[in-house]
């Protein structure tokens, strides 16, 4: 992934792919991020895990093993809300051996050498994890790391978009997906209270409003925070 603008465009297109969006994004990761396979699992509020998609048999095995054993990088990434990046399984750090004995056994017959897991989360919104693997050892390059983080952000949006009742929720610009604008998160919290909805629905409502008014989401968020825009349950 050496062109962030093009990568962002590809991810945005993929988020429109309906229920198959996570798989489409996983395939994009394999094409562009120098990894061999990708898979996505989600976790329900009660902690029930389900495998959503995998790009190949090995990726499917990684998801299935984590599902069955309840251990692995994706599980830890989800729980810690931080990426877990293991660049060489043949020289595993002590904690890998300690924490994922079953997973290492299960992968012993495969050629998986590196595992990179990314949480699907935005603040309190926790949806699951994206697991990437590579048959060659070595860390993700900074560009590929950026690409993977952006892919995880996009899967979050795709999952919410798929479950919500909003068709058009964002502009085709990097900013809509960005998590770097604090007023967007503040606005999400405010709208959550105004509408009596969950954080993820409020997250979508703010974006849907930006889309329908043709404005950047950070501008709309500013208006919400400055109390120039107010959401009311009667509007919906």
């Amino acid at each position: 992934m050496d062109d962030r603008v093009r990568w962002n465009r590809a991810l945005l297109d993929a988020t429109s792919a309906g229920p198959s969006a996570p798989l489409v994004i996983s395939r994009l990761c394999v094409e562009s991020l120098g990894v061999s396979g990708a898979g996505v699992s989600t976790v329900t509020p009660t902690g029930k895990r389900s495998v959503l998609c995998a790009t190949d048999a090995t990726a499917a095995l990684i998801e299935e093993l984590q599902f069955t054993l309840g251990e692995g990088p994706g599980i830890d990434a989800f729980r810690d809300r931080a990426p877990v990046l293991i660049s060489d399984l043949d020289e595993p750090l002590d904690f890998v051996v300690d924490r994922w004995p079953g997973l290492l056994d299960g992968l012993a017959s495969t050629d998986v050498r590196a595992l990179f897991a990314f949480p699907l989360c935005v603040g309190v919104i926790d949806l699951g994890a994206l697991d990437l693997h590579r048959t060659e050892p070595g860390p993700l390059s900074p560009d590929d790391l950026a690409g993977a983080l952006m892919a995880a952000d996009s899967i979050v949006l795709a999952l919410m978009r798929g479950a919500g009742r909003f068709e058009n929720v964002w502009h085709e610009d990097a900013e809509s997906r960005s998590t770097s604008f604090r007023q967007v998160h503040q606005a999400t919290g405010m709208v959550q209270v105004q509408m009596g909805v969950s954080t993820d629905e409020a997250f979508l409502l703010v974006r849907a409003r930006a889309f329908s008014s043709g404005r950047p989401v950070s501008d709309v968020a500013d208006d919400i925070v400055e109390r120039r825009i107010r959401f009311s349950p009667e509007d919906s």
Partner: protein, 255 residues
Amino acid sequence: MSPPDASVGAAPPTREQRFTEVFIAFADTLVDDYDVVELLDRLVTVCVEILPVSAAGLLLDDQRGQLAVVASSSEETRLLEVFQLQNDEGPCLDCIRTGSAVTISEIEAEAERWPLFVPASLRAGFRSVAAVPLRLRAQVIGGLNLFDAEPGAVSEDSRRLAQALADVATIGILQRRSTHRGDLVAEQLQHALNSRVVIEQAKGVIAERNGISMEQAFELLRTRSRNSNEKLTAVARAIVQGQPGAAIVEGADPR
């Protein structure tokens, strides 16, 4: 004869004593179990207290090509704009790109270099600025930005102190207790960034519920964290998740 008063005659702490206290307090925190957002927040507050500056902010590389404001000495919108604008241009962005401190004694003189940053800073009431990197060996993860209402370069002393505080921030972000020791920088940095998102979501909930500003909402959050002796991020998470509303995605909050 009045009883002896311990405070009578006791000189106020010198600058050096104050610095010593600050660094001892941070060292104490770093060996304990701490909340990273709270640590960074305290750090920018201390900057404004012990350095001759009017405002301070910490920006982190979000590793997706943008800078995220993770702590600021005030919630003032104009100040936050000046921080955020440095996604495009400004001393903090330059400092992060080069890994070296940037010191500007007269912002107004840099209008050609930074056509967006300069007017925004002047509007916010700032005349001088400095930025020091958050750096671990060759990797730069962010920058500490200091603004002053008066022109004049920060002294070499102040710059060195600011760098030491930036180093505390770097250590604070990167040595968070973790079960993992993979690619630490990326793992820890993303954790810190996501913790900040939780704080912002909670500020929104609190501000709306109580009809107060983000600044007041943050103060309320900090007070609640102090009084309950719970970590800031944990209190924030509980507040956002305690808000009614069913999750629309299987797997989304509330847990």
